[in-house]
């Protein structure tokens, strides 16, 4: 699974994307976030307040409760500031 990071999330992580192999028990974005938080404190810190982070699944703005699969492209970003 490809995960992309934007804005300050990318800066904090020091990377703009990563590829992970999605473990079978991870079925939702929420579960993916917990998996990432267990990796290290940087992720823990970034996702400590989910409300300010948005997620997209295959370039579609989505909810943390939504289902994901290994073929999906997930992205985490703060609220957009286009225009």
């Amino acid at each position: 699974m490809k995960i992309l990071y934007f804005s300050w999330i990318k800066d904090k992580l020091g990377k703009s994307e990563e590829n992970i192999i999605l473990q079978e028990q991870i079925k939702t974005v929420e579960q993916l976030v917990i998996f990432l938080q267990n990796k290290n404190d940087i992720y823990k810190d970034i996702f400590k307040d989910n409300k300010i982070i948005k997620v997209s699944i295959n370039m579609e703005v989505s909810n943390f409760k939504d289902s994901i699969s290994d073929q999906d492209e997930i992205a985490f970003f703060p609220p957009m500031t286009g225009g």
Partner: protein, 149 residues
């Protein structure tokens, strides 16, 4: 027509393209977003626009289609730049063309409100003191919500 690009755009050129392509235009509205000289407190050195390639194009196409379905438009153009920009540089261009002014004016307003909260772009401002990511404004969300009818 939508475009997500690093290069600058010319409003005159874009207007000409629309006027050549379509007939019977009576009203054209447009909006240009520009990098300001000042950040909240101090002078701005540059503003870098990060974007989500692929999703940016997808979202701009979606908003253009929504505008075309909600208003009686003859044509439209949405151009959004990314990369490092400097004070006075153009960031975004929205053009809407219609027979009567109401359609052009309202849809242009709609598109620019929508871009603020739904365009997958993030702004990094560098001032002469520091650099920081611009936070989304609560008021922008409110502006966008007024179009939900």
């Amino acid at each position: 027509m939508i475009s997500v690009q690093k290069n600058n755009f010319s409003i005159n050129e874009e207007l000409s393209k629309l006027k050549i392509k379509y007939n019977n235009i009576g009203a054209i509205s447009n909006f240009i977003g520009i990098v300001r000289d000042k950040s909240k407190q101090s002078n701005l050195v540059s503003m870098t626009l990060e974007h989500y390639p692929g999703m940016a194009e997808k979202m701009l196409t979606e908003i253009e289609n929504q505008a075309l379905s909600r208003w009686n438009l003859i044509g439209s153009t949405i151009i959004h730049r990314y990369g490092e920009l400097f004070p006075g540089d153009q960031i975004v261009l929205v053009i809407t063309a219609s027979e009567h002014r109401k359609d052009a004016v309202e849809s242009c307003h709609f598109i620019i409100d929508w871009l603020k909260t739904k365009g997958p772009f993030w702004k990094y401002e560098k001032t002469n003191r520091a650099g920081f990511w611009v936070e989304a404004k609560e008021t922008d969300k409110k502006e966008e919500l007024k179009w939900k009818t």
